[in-house]
Subunit: 210 residues, 2 copies
Amino acid sequence: MEYIKNPMKIEEKSFEMIQDIIDEIRPGYEFKNNVEEKIIKRSIHTTADFEYLDILKISDKAVESIIDALKNNATVYTDTNMALSGINKKRLEALGCKYKCLVADEETAKLAKEKSITRSMAAVEIAAKEPGRKLFVFGNAPTALYKAMEMKNSNELELDAIVGVPVGFVGAAESKDELEKTEIPYIISKGRKGGSNLAAAIINAILYTM
Amino acid sequence: MEYIKNPMKIEEKSFEMIQDIIDEIRPGYEFKNNVEEKIIKRSIHTTADFEYLDILKISDKAVESIIDALKNNATVYTDTNMALSGINKKRLEALGCKYKCLVADEETAKLAKEKSITRSMAAVEIAAKEPGRKLFVFGNAPTALYKAMEMKNSNELELDAIVGVPVGFVGAAESKDELEKTEIPYIISKGRKGGSNLAAAIINAILYTM
């Protein structure tokens, strides 16, 4: 069986194919700018789903806010270990950024039980008390996204931006619609689609432009 | 903001909504059997992508082979840490199964460099030398899937089944087409779609039937 075995060539060829397919299925499609192009193409690379041409929404200040936070030793908080495992941690470390997923911690489980909330929500409450700049990267839990918006709104949480791409059927689309209405810099996927893999891909796309 | 905060209710409601949407968009759609239904619905739950109704292919002996391996202390080998992080490891441990992703190991990197192959391929070569029953769960690397087929074909590798759902543009669809032609029990996603999240969801769906 003949197949390409060079990882660099595989990635390069993949992005060429993505552009070719966009030209074919969406002639005249224009990316707003170079970074948005990289984010959307990496989202497609990760999912093979060209719907991201239409459903990925990036607020005006989102990229700038995320880059500024990453340049200032922000901590990246994810809502799943899966998202965390997909993020390029070497790049984050090189920037002096931290990264964590608090969802599976004992303290989080305890707080969630006490308050009868999801562990994803409890993780946001715990993150809020930590020092330093914060980026939230949610690919799974609408409840985490709602909690972050609530706490930001009541000045209990400072954050730089949210990559908010929870996937699913209960609350996912609605939570992202709510985020669009806030002043928080955001990157979202409209509707039900999204995921931990997508969340990681979006952060990686931005890291690779830095 | 009002939203459901009980994780059990969120999951239950999600699966109800998935069935409702199937009834709406694909009236008369029939699952072949109960386990296949659970696998496909969990795939949709993880991706919000109803294309999995059509592109998920489960070979006749796949579920039986996977369950038999899981009941006999098999090791689950994934091609990414992301897939591994999504798999329900408590369930695997309760069954006495092991799980690992060898891709980031030093030994794997060394072997890949020596042989000018991908780390995903090197990881399969290393797994092949380990004792015990084996399940391969690939969500990312067509090269891993090709390698496993090659080694199985030349009797260098014994395995029980492959969950082969690499996503992507270079080799992903082709590698899955090849797997369909083998005698290896398989679960695949036809075409470009797939992913680490999907790979984990498929194994979890089967674990939850046991």
